[in-house]
Symmetry: C2
């Protein structure tokens, strides 16, 4: 292994002109989930929004873009399609375990954004289900100290929203 | 607060046609760091690559794109410029505390990618400095159990790299 002053240096030749040519787990992840809208689609599925029309309404994204992104997420095994109606057949999108394992990515984006990216009250608080404690930056319950898993977490809307002026309106 | 079957639902009107109109901490974070290359620039600065030419060589990104992304990161207070030479003045880029707080985002992307996005041996392992234990998905040392902070973490290159064929070559 090559160490340089306690940190690692990539030889220049390793990182090329495109993500796909970088042998880096972070770059490889961004190749899959880094496209515009993709993470917000995954967020919505985490929040229980599973059907095409509901996702489209929630996100306000163009239908063709949503369709492309959903297909790619299914192709990558992050979402799976499940029929919820037979005649005509209609599908909803569920997280696979690979998809559910994106929860730490979503939580870290949420928590950084709560602190630095939004101007006003947090729109969503994530709690330890049943216990009610908030989650710290290691997804531990601040009340009982438990390591909280995705199925034990509860996203609670505070009611805070951005006013048309850009200022926020508490609930 | 509004709860629906244990999960929260966004009213359709809250999420609009563009990230900037969504009052969501995740979307707000992506507005800042979601642009192509931005996270990989932040990754490189974490790894100690701080100067424009070194970043350009490491990433292989076009100079004008790199310049734009760096300016935006400085504007958002994620990086700061520090002169390392006077005649002529030359700057390097350092993480602010706001930037260093992106570490959990990078770690979650890295760990998901290690598991699901790369095909082959992990190119980088993050260890607890001094102790040598790896970090779990809550950034705790698997050897001593400590909560590891960014300054206590050490990125170690394994030497694994992708062969021209796409197969990986262990060190």
């Amino acid at each position: 292994m090559q160490r340089t002053r306690g940190i690692v240096r990539y030889p220049g030749g390793m990182l090329k002109r495109d993500y796909t040519t970088q042998y880096c787990s972070m770059a490889a992840t961004l190749e899959i989930i880094g496209e515009r809208w993709t993470i917000l689609i995954v967020r919505d599925v985490f929040l229980g929004i599973r059907r095409f029309d509901d996702l489209q309404r929630s996100l306000g994204v163009a239908r063709n873009i949503l369709q492309t992104r959903l297909e790619r997420l299914v192709e990558h095994g992050i979402l799976r399609k499940k029929a919820y109606q037979e005649h005509p057949v209609r599908y909803e999108y569920r997280l696979t375990s690979k998809g559910a394992d994106l929860w730490p990515v979503l939580m870290s984006l949420l928590q950084w954004g709560d602190r630095y990216a939004i101007d006003g009250e947090r729109p969503v608080i994530v709690e330890h289900r049943g216990c009610g404690g908030e989650l710290d930056d290691r997804r531990r319950c601040v009340l009982c100290g438990a390591d909280v898993s995705v199925t034990e977490a509860l996203a609670v809307r505070t009611g805070a929203r951005r006013a048309p002026s850009g200022a926020t309106v508490p609930a």
